[in-house]
């Protein structure tokens, strides 16, 4: 293992790894560096929590409606006409 793989993370590096961390896409060594950093850093723990809150907020956006009735009818008619 190279030195860079075991060196502690700085906060400005941590913030760029958040998405890979949440997708569980980090190499085990990098994942460990992220976890070690989180143990020590309140700022980055807050940052991570805010990214999670952001994901929830985006997921809570109001759902759009479905197809207009006329369009839906047209598609069902097209389906019935299939050979």
């Amino acid at each position: 293992m190279s030195d860079t793989a075991t060196e502690p993370l700085d906060c400005n590096e941590f913030v760029e790894l958040v998405t890979a961390y949440l997708d569980d896409a980090l190499e085990p060594a990098d994942r460990q560096r992220v976890l070690d950093h989180l143990d020590l850093c309140d700022g980055c723990s807050t940052y991570l929590e805010q990214v999670r809150a952001t994901i929830r907020a985006v997921g809570d956006l109001p759902a759009p409606g479905g197809l207009p009735d006329k369009g839906r009818e047209r598609l069902l008619a097209a389906f019935r006409r299939r050979p």
């Binding site: 400005n12 760029e16 890979a20 985006v58 997921g59 197809l67 069902l76």
Partner: protein
């Protein structure tokens, strides 16, 4: 929501002309398809036409569908191609191959200490925790901020964020729908989330400083 039947059964029923099965996928997938189409084209009507055209193409191609991907992925891929073409025609969308991802940090480098300070690369000032959106007014204001932030994203980032975080699709399905690499998908998602987080942070900062 009841789970859809497995693909094998679904495809068999669709090919056999089972209208109830078609109604099921039509109603289940169209809202998400409308939302995604809206990321590429300029009006809700235009998005509805994309979805309409996509379903017609699905009906036409159904007998040729080889199940190399999930049915939903295949339908969405047709949608994305339909919506991209229309977006380009409307002068709104740029061909995805023409511009690479932006790079550079997603958090303002001034937020971190410089090499001349005691803790280089560490927060100058820790991010301030956000209030929990327990009251409805705050929640709806944050929601408006999020809507505006998503609308302000570059197209590719908006499309990936919509699929991943609005519709909750897994990374590999999104790569498959958009025909992009896992790394590129993650770069786009990462930048999109960081941007939206930044807008929410700005909103909370404005809310506490009168």
């Amino acid at each position: 929501m009841q789970p859809l039947p497995p693909d094998e059964e679904l495809v068999r029923r669709l090919r056999a002309g089972d209208e109830a099965a078609f109604g099921l996928v039509l109603d289940r997938w169209s809202p998400g398809m409308l939302r995604l189409a809206r990321s590429f084209v300029s009006t809700p009507d235009s998005a509805a036409e994309c979805v309409q055209d996509t379903w017609l193409a699905v009906l036409e191609g159904l007998d040729r569908f080889e199940r190399r991907s999930a049915l939903r992925t295949w339908v969405y891929r047709i949608l994305v191609n339909t919506a991209k073409r229309r977006g380009v025609r409307e002068g709104r969308s740029v061909p995805w191959s023409s511009v690479g991802p932006q790079d550079g940090p997603t958090v303002d480098p001034d937020r971190f200490q410089s090499p001349r300070e005691p803790y280089p690369g560490h927060w100058r000032e820790l991010p301030a925790p956000w209030p929990t959106p327990e009251d409805a007014t705050l929640a709806s204001e944050v929601s408006a901020v999020v809507v505006a932030a998503v609308a302000g994203l570059p197209e590719r980032q908006r499309v990936v964020l919509t699929l991943r975080d609005v519709q909750g699709y897994a990374a590999d399905e999104v790569c498959s729908i958009l025909e992009i690499t896992p790394t590129y998908q993650r770069v786009l998602l990462h930048r999109a989330r960081a941007f939206v987080r930044g807008r929410i942070e700005d909103y909370h900062a404005r809310a506490v400083t009168p």
